[in-house]
Amino acid sequence: MTAFPNFEWVQIAYALLTLFIVINYGMVMTAVVRKIGARVGGRYGIPVWQNYVDLLKNIALRSKISHGVMYYLGPVFRLTGGVGLLMFVPTIYGSEWHQNFSYAGDLILALYFVFFGTLGMALGAGESGHPHSAIGVSRGLAQVTMAELPLALGVFALSLQYQTLDITEIVAAQQGSIFNWTVFTNPLATVAAMVAFVGTMMRSPFDVAMAPQEIPIGPPTEYHSSYLALMQTNRVLFPVAKTVIYMNLFFGGATSWAEFAIKVFCLYMISVVIGVVHPRFRVEQSIRFFLKWGLPIGVLSILVV
């Protein structure tokens, strides 16, 4: 217990509760967002409960086939990435229940988890035997790596600014006034990170690796039934978890579930606002975009700090 000074067993239950709330929140929110996107396109869009039905349907499928151990582990890793990300970030600041397992230095861990899922997918999809999966994975990884560069630089600037890698402390430093938020105290780093945010939310114009019309259907080509259900769960969990990090790092975190819901939604909408109206970049285009815009801003933010 010495390594985890403020750990208590009950936190596991609390964390599971957090997970539950966040997954459901993600389920509904992504559906609502899709509906909004549909309205922009002049459509009605899916019912808000459609995600649940799809999830249930996938679990209800009768036949499953496997391509080996890594194939199994792919979605598991992927989900672990999402869950882990959420678990090591304080979801609600100041809440004893939803503090999760946040420790000093966990920012690095969180960044690792952002990447972890994609890596897991790479391994799993690679084993699925589908030649296009591997291509999709490599394209996806290339793009994500490039998108993470500005984030890493922005986070570096942040850690220089706050002189800590503890997310809880970063959040704490932003409490009090809205002007304490990093977005005002360090706008350059925020911009750099937000470029990465848009780039990694798997939305247009940066979702070519996942785009069904591209290489069918990218990494998850071979995934189906409960594997796909796992991935679906991650698809709703992961963006929320990622948004939570950004919220904590740059937008003062959340002190209640209501604030959480609103802030996450608003942040998420940033990528949506861009995504639903813009066409996709090709992989090399988006990489060039990150190198040309994201990277200099990130470097600049460090220099400014």
């Binding site: 909004i36 309205r39 922009v40 606002v273 639903v276 109206v277």
Partner: protein
Amino acid sequence: MSLRDVLSPFTAWKHVINDPVTIKDPFNRPGADRYRGFHQNDMDKCIGCGSCEEICQNAAIDMVPVEGQEAGPGDSGLRPMIDYGRCCWCALCVDVCMTGSLTMSNEYTWVDSDPDAFRFVPGVDGKSWDLEPKGYQREDTRRLTGTTRAPMGELAPEDRIGNFCEIVDGFTPEQAVIEADRCVECGLCVATCPAHMDIPDYIAKVRDGDFEGGLQLLYETNPFSQACGRICTHKCETTCAAMHEGDAIAIRWLKRAITDSVDKDRYFDLIQKPDVPETGQSVAVIGAGPAGLTTAFDLARKGHKVVVFEALDKPGGMMRYGIPEYRLPYDVLDHEISVIEAMGVEIRCNMRVGHEISMEQLAKAYDAVVLSIGLHQGRSTRVPGSDKAEAAIDLLRRITAGVEVPVPEQVAVIGGGNVAMDIARSMARLQKIKYGRVGVTVTALEDLDRFLADREEIEEAQEEGCVIYPARGPQEIVLDGETVMGLRTWKVQAIFDDQGRFAPKYDEADEMIHPAGMVVEAIGQMADISLLGEALTEKLEWNRGRIMIDSTGQTSEPWLWAAGDAVSGPDVIHAVADGHRVAVSVGKMLAAKREKVQ
């Protein structure tokens, strides 16, 4: 990539507050007014001609018998069943439909988990769109088949009235091909034709220009094709599918076109006696009319020896002596009979049975006797003075025979049938030759549109100057001593009583006197059965004054058959049909007899 390119897409966000462009209820959207949706078929209009089946490029249509639709005149009793596993909704079937019964609704949704469910008979298998008024209908101005007859030359009334020349030119081969091309070859007419000629088949031959092949087809069912090509009552044309679209196909004239187009001498090459062994059996036929000669033709081709006894000078029966020359020229008839004679039929003219030879002799000398004596006695109106009236049939015979007949300046004809028209027009010609003008009055009980005569006969008679008074009942032949002065008629109010019995009612106030130097009665004919002799007349069974026969034409005597007008009414094509029927029956009897001998 300019800043504008980045920013302008965001304007699309304004749609988020607009109503979606999505169709809110896609399940109840009607098709366009003229959408080519699922088929409808009006059972009352459909005649089951199968043109839709024929035209379908996808073999999607079957003609099937359905309950409640019986075959009958002009209706095959079949209805189209459409396989929606084949249909591509091109609407050719609707466009070709001869009656316009087949249409399309604008309904277009039909899902089912049973693939066999998509076969249905529109109009029979109830569907939700059966009464849907919208949908694709054929445009009235557009027809895939021609609607008007090919033109044919004929003599103008003023050119034809002074002579007995044939009126109608007949189709030239080119015209015939054009006319034949209108035929959809449904074959509804075949059932209507008493002789069930292969009408669509020979029309197809005409269309292909194969007149010789057509002639052979004609002779398979009708040895009087030349005559029928001119004077047939062409009942077939009343059930022609094309009449729903416009003019019926000129089936009669097409038949004539075949017979005219083939060289007269070629007939004997094309129609040859089949190579069958002589049976040694012999048949006597009484009367060389169409029924008798058809029987003779058929039996001779089966290898029997046939002798035809004809009371008059020349063979042909009523076709020669009842039908005026301007409708059926004698040389055509002579040629026709010569073809029949070429089968080995022997015709003995001027042999009146009962005079030169008796029935008993015939019965003894021949294995079978066929009685086809026709109707050569005119019926009388029995009004006062009718003993002074002439019988139309008698008059016609005298004209044909070249006997001098009295031709007064004014003639009154009683009757509205074809014989009435024949005598009226014949007298009109004689008047024209003698006096230079026509003075014929035709009176009949019926209204003009109920006349029994063919429409064209009536019209042509009127063109030639005959005056027709419909709905007038003869009351008296006005006499001045022995001289006929005219005909007195009353207006007819009703011909039949409530029970449908013949009981004319007259309006006595509406009286007319038709001045005439001759009154001709043309109200019907009957057979002269005196030739049978008393003993045979006693022995035979009778049915309302007619010899009773079974469906094959056999009388109650095993050796005697009866055929033709005397048993089935005045009509050449009926007589031909009778002839075939009797010939088969006789042939069977003879075969049985042969077997018994062996």
